[in-house]
Symmetry: C2
Amino acid sequence: MDDLGQSDSAEREDPRIRATRIQDVAKLADVSTATVSRALATPERVSPEARARVLEAIAKTGYVPNPAARSLRSQKTFMVLVVLPDLSNTFFSKILRGIEETLFDAGYGMIISDLDGSPAKEAHFAAFTAAGRVDGAILLNGHLFGQSREGEGQPARIAIPLVALCEAIPGADIPQIEIDNRAAASRMTQHLASLGHRRIAYVSGPASNILERERFLGFKDGLEAAGLPFDPAFVIPGDYTIESGVAAGQGLVARKTRPTAVFCTSDEMAIGLMRTLLSAGLRVPEDISVAGFDDIEFAAVAEPSLTTIHQPRRELGQAAATVLIDLLQGRPTRKQIRLETELVIRDSVAPAG
Amino acid sequence: MDDLGQSDSAEREDPRIRATRIQDVAKLADVSTATVSRALATPERVSPEARARVLEAIAKTGYVPNPAARSLRSQKTFMVLVVLPDLSNTFFSKILRGIEETLFDAGYGMIISDLDGSPAKEAHFAAFTAAGRVDGAILLNGHLFGQSREGEGQPARIAIPLVALCEAIPGADIPQIEIDNRAAASRMTQHLASLGHRRIAYVSGPASNILERERFLGFKDGLEAAGLPFDPAFVIPGDYTIESGVAAGQGLVARKTRPTAVFCTSDEMAIGLMRTLLSAGLRVPEDISVAGFDDIEFAAVAEPSLTTIHQPRRELGQAAATVLIDLLQGRPTRKQIRLETELVIRDSVAPAG
DNA sequence: CAACCCCATGTAATCGATTACATGCAACTT
DNA sequence: AAGTTGCATGTAATCGATTACATGGGGTTG
């Protein structure tokens, strides 16, 4: 079961067969390497006969151009870096899929950088992009990287096209793809208020997060629009994770004056919070209504099913990738794209009792 | 809000500053390019003074080696391809994180290929690896790719190191990292039986899937060990998704003779199924016990919380990456690694009433 | 003192594609 | 018929790093 020797056999059976090169194809098709290259890149500039011979030779040899050589010469990698704060977060996976499929269709590959809160990783990937290893990057982490901290002299970096997705990057002059977090949060707050809720708690994201700041403003907007006062005591700190939702729930259970509705700024927190309330014998939504944000897959099958704000995650990914590709290929792009959200009404919110 | 002109300004402000090359560093440090290269790759072969001058020059210029050039010459990319069937599946995200962090620490980057059931994508990535664009690959999709279908002649591919993760690949002579699906399924089945359940239903994965085949065998093992007969009527088809769990639940609700326990081979299905049962007025676990498999994040906060099989997902990813790196660096590796699973007992399973 | 070795370093070939420039031929113009 | 145009193609420079081989100087050994 625990055989060793894998590498030995690998060494034996692998005499490093040199892959087919453009020269081999050229020889076989009886043309020059330039013609082979042109037959692939600009077929219209090659005679039909030569092209046919080249294609036949390629089919016969299974030739695939060496990307390192191509990249070295043409200064293009056809690779895009996707920077995100936490790869294991449910919220990102569908966005990634939208990005991947769009990039794929345009012939680009995707390299993922999971920052994981590590400045070292961030510096590494900053160098990575500077080294020209990717043609462009999509930033989901809310800030640019490598603020000229290392080299003292003139860094002389190559500036590659960047796009910010979900988390807008304030001072940066790059396209932003996002939803209107403020408006969505306001809408949810007003929805709760319209059902008669007067004591509405708010479970926040990390204070430094731009999404949090927008949603918090939206929450206050909503209160104001509904003529409700803002009470700081009803703001509960969170960080978008299930665990922080659980913790927020525990805090609520212990209170004397409970809110009648809780607006969680992520579905993960809402699900964790509901769990805690239910365990403590409270009923959702009869005793407390709970609302979420994001509309992840599990929102619809939570018990009770979760009223939330739907984000078009796949489309967000697609839009960001599309904009980046436009940028890479020199087409004009929009500076800001805001996709529509939707208020999804399910069972976790009921009229105030 | 919808400004155009991004690309115009990009063209203006971007005179394609050429990045620092090894020559620039060499000139500045007053040594040859060979010495610069050696100072980085084999510092012990360079005099301390020269090394110091080189490092200083590098710091001053912010030099980063051009990866395309390096890769072209050395035939290494320091990139690993991760092939998976569905990037948006919750189950994979934590595995990916384990892979990414391990690769990162070893200086490798990660390229993700989401096959999405598309043979075209599969062929593309087969060519991709063949083109030497990555040094190795981790396969999470249960089979090798590109079975010599395209070129008629001798494909003459470069064989790169591969590792199979989670889904073992039968005929392939590559390292396998997985859990013992059969034993785990058997264990869960026996757990249910030990609580007095005699009518145990099984919600399957896709029939073609190797995980499914193993788990199904384990289910039968468990029944046999408990002295229970196998009844095909209690096998309900599924495909690991929430939706198929919902569908399976609808089927159950409609039955006259219901099982007293349901073993779902994924947590997603279990959660979807519980949701349907609850909506139909059945109680979990009082009327029907439900068990899952995987122990995803949401299992602990489902209502009721889900009894399931814990898979060490992050560790699986780390193990696969570690083995691949060993392979890439010529160290001997184990052919098969099986990580331990754990039976996690929560509230969705109760003794048979 | 001569012969040898080793170490640090430099010179230049090399990886495999793209592409600027050169060439030669055919077709068209006046 | 001479000149012009344009197309298909070939030749060779080029991208930037790695590395085999060459070189020269200092130290060791017989």
